[in-house]
Symmetry: C2
Subunit: 125 residues, 2 copies
DNA sequence: ATAGGTGCAAACAGTTTGCATGTAT
DNA sequence: ATACATGCAAACTGTTTGCACCTAT
């Protein structure tokens, strides 16, 4: 049976409250504030368990370490700021990728990533 | 000045001839056939040099080890077969992602990945 | 002859795992 | 009380680097 430990609560809260996909180092750092002495192994173990449970989903940007966000959101994609490297959720998805699919191929899913500058970093030029 | 070594030629040829993005292990394996005794470190060193020179570009699929393909192709994206895990180039990119970009954000580039089954794997059901 | 390249092994970074200890139930 | 969870350190994987030897120029 699953236990409701201090560490697990801290990690869950960090992912839930951040409002954008966060990676293991950031989770570790933030959760450690709530749970001093927290080990990085526990962060990874919790992440993997939450992935298995379906509580969170991985947000894998091409060429970057994985980030995680709460599961259950509507179909959406992500925007990464080239200046601050934060990743944000996009709300809509204008999906018409059928025309890109080669003849004879069967399309099952798609991923879209946008890159640019977030509003904060646009302002701070 | 740059030297034209046996190993470098083999690695270049593998990437050029494969016709689809290939990763270090595959490059290593195939190039080793041409250059026996080839070390994995050399593969990585050549890849990094070719990236610097702009001879090849990285194809980073979300959550997967990087692959590489020859540079200089037109703007395009990639399709990964969920069955054989091979990655193929897509020819066109008809999308306009401006409407996905949040207000105040500045769009600089985008990546699109399609997933499904390639023609070979569709046939082999 | 010599600058640059290679192979090997050690070093690294990110992630996972074994084990003894700790703790929620 | 005990099964599950944690922290630490060691193991592992993919990539990089130091160094002595090698080779294209």
């Amino acid at each position: 049976m699953e236990r409701n430990t201090h560490q697990r609560r801290a990690i869950h809260k960090v992912i839930q409250d951040s409002g954008r996909p966060v990676g293991p180092p950031e989770i570790f750092e933030l959760a450690r504030a709530q749970a001093p002495g927290l080990g990085i192994a526990t962060v990874y173990r919790c992440i993997n368990r939450m992935l298995d449970e379906g509580t969170i989903v991985a947000v894998d940007l091409p060429g970057e370490a994985p980030r995680y966000e709460m599961a259950g959101k509507d179909h959406h994609h992500h925007f990464r700021c080239n200046a601050c490297n934060k990743v944000f959720d996009l709300l809509a998805c204008a999906e018409k990728f059928a025309d890109l699919t080669p003849k004879g191929f069967q399309l099952e899913s798609h991923e879209v990533y946008l890159f640019g500058r977030c509003d904060t970093c646009v302002a701070t030029v």
